[in-house]
Amino acid sequence: MKKETLISSLFIVAGLGLAANGVFSLTSAEQLHHNRNPFAIQQSAYGKLFARLSETTVDRVWHLGVEQIVPHYMSGIEHGEESQAEISIDPVPGANDHREVVARSEKDKAAALAANAPTGLDKGKRWIQGRVIAQHTRTNPNSLNQQHLNTVYKDIERLLLRSFKMDPTHYGAYDSYHLFLTTYNFGGNPAHTEQARRIAAVAMSAVRNENEDPEPWLTAAAAGMNLYLMDAAPYMEKSETIPLDILTKYRGQIGYCLAKFDELQARSEKEGNWERLSMDRQMEIAERSRFVSRTFKQFDVMIARAESRGSVEAPEGEVAETTGESKE
């Protein structure tokens, strides 16, 4: 055997020995498992970015697959909102259901037209938008069958889970996944309720070490509220009183989250981080904070009532309102 061939054979044998030894050593130490988070994308800054970006994907699948209409971000028209059809170029006639022109006086129309006269750029952009709408407008007279719809629900759940893994502290990622799991019409079932509990726990623990950004603490507060509602549901269904320990436990948890939010929000303002957010984002966070705080105040009322009576009444009205609002 030639010297070179011998050396390469020795490499192979030595490599096999080392690798085999490594595999056994790493397997026995449970170190061989893949961490399922290549390049630490999940929960990193880029994970946060992907969680936000995936909202658009979920939105697209939802509107095309479940609602079976052109997504609003493509058409530029929100639910229940009239289009700008009367003052813009109608890209595809009949592409939108909300396209009925609101009766106006001719004078108002002329003023609106003058104020919103489209520039060449606007016309060009609207032309492209029109093609995108045409690309996604449903022409099949039949809607999706149930099996196909179930596949779409499954796809949406997969996307929501992926988005949640990317950033469990993001309110949109967590709460939309929670709602999907707990709303039966959209694919929820009793097994999914357990998953909803798990994701609430994951979201809360992911927020635990957050000491800079206040917003995740609102996500934790929402997760706490969802856990409370799930724990209280059996009592409410039977019209029984909710045990005091459940109320005090969640008042403590949610109260801590809101206190941390206030503390970090004040610090964020002081350090100038808050100012970097757009006005829309600031208003969105402030509105969410107000909503959670308002709901949280009911715990004091319920506990006071429970302590004074020695038993607790189920806060059905409040719960119904909370659930309704959080679905929006």
Partner: protein, 253 residues
């Protein structure tokens, strides 16, 4: 070292390395600003280190292995390796010189990543800073143990088959070792099939070299004993790959 010089000049003349070098320098500084950092500026520095490493992996897989495969193919097809054989340059020396020429350029890229990741994202705390430096050094070592043998394989396969096939096989192995194994793990979670479990064990677990999460989440350096175990395993895989690569290497087609 004539083959080394010839190959190095050829790579430098192609200039594609410059595109990757620019991206390696610019993107770690630019891309973190696309993240939602406004409310949490402390995200920026780990994101810089993370992007530097992600780009280095991307460059290794997309540029380095491609260079190895195409150069192996071209030199072998053009009879250049036969010519060097007549000059008395043996097969191991030929393989080493081609490998070294590709790695000379790539070493500069590793250095860029190491500098950006270590010195532009270093934590302020002294203990954390030491861990940060050590983690980056450990990462360079493990990265080398994965990428260097794969380059040898790409070159050897290139000399035997064509460049596209050599590249496809090598990146297939690299991507399987980095990402594919996690899918096999999911499949094996409730499957006791002996054959599939054996496949899992003999798969190249390149993902062990990915220390990005230790940087992003400031987990600290890998304990030395553990590092030795991982390095031993990856080094063993590297020796095996190098040995097989030599057997595959051919001077002419």
């Amino acid at each position: 070292m004539e083959l080394y010089k010839l190959t190095l000049i050829s790579i430098l003349n192609r200039k594609t390395f410059a595109i990757f070098a620019i991206l390696l320098v610019a993107l770690p500084f630019a891309l973190p600003y696309m993240t939602p950092w406004e409310s949490k500026p402390s995200l920026l520095e780990p994101a810089r280190a993370q992007m530097a490493w992600v780009l280095l992996w991307t460059t290794a897989i997309s540029w380095l292995l491609f260079q190895g495969a195409t150069i192996g193919d071209r030199w072998s097809s053009q009879g250049l390796l036969e010519y060097f054989k007549t000059l008395g340059v043996s097969r191991p020396k030929q393989l080493l010189q081609i490998w070294l020429s590709c790695f000379t350029v790539f070493a500069g890229m590793i250095l860029i990543t190491f500098v950006i990741s270590t010195f532009t994202a270093m934590p302020g705390d002294a203990v954390e800073a030491r861990h940060w430096l050590v983690t980056n050094l450990q990462y360079v070592m493990l990265f080398f143990l994965v990428v260097a043998p794969l380059l040898t394989l790409a070159i050897s396969l290139g000399t035997r088959f064509n460049g596209a096939a050599a590249y496809a096989v090598t990146i297939g192995i690299a991507l399987y070792g980095l990402f594919g194994i996690s899918y096999l793990e999911v499949f094996l979670a409730d499957n006791k099939n002996a054959f599939l479990n054996l496949v899992y064990l003999v798969s190249p677990h390149y993902h062990l070299s990915d220390l990005t999460s230790r940087l992003v989440f400031k987990l600290g350096s890998v304990p030395w004993g553990e590092l030795g175990r991982i390095a031993g395993y990856l080094g063993g895989l590297g020796l095996l790959t190098t040995g097989i690569s030599y057997q595959l290497y051919r001077e002419g087609k």
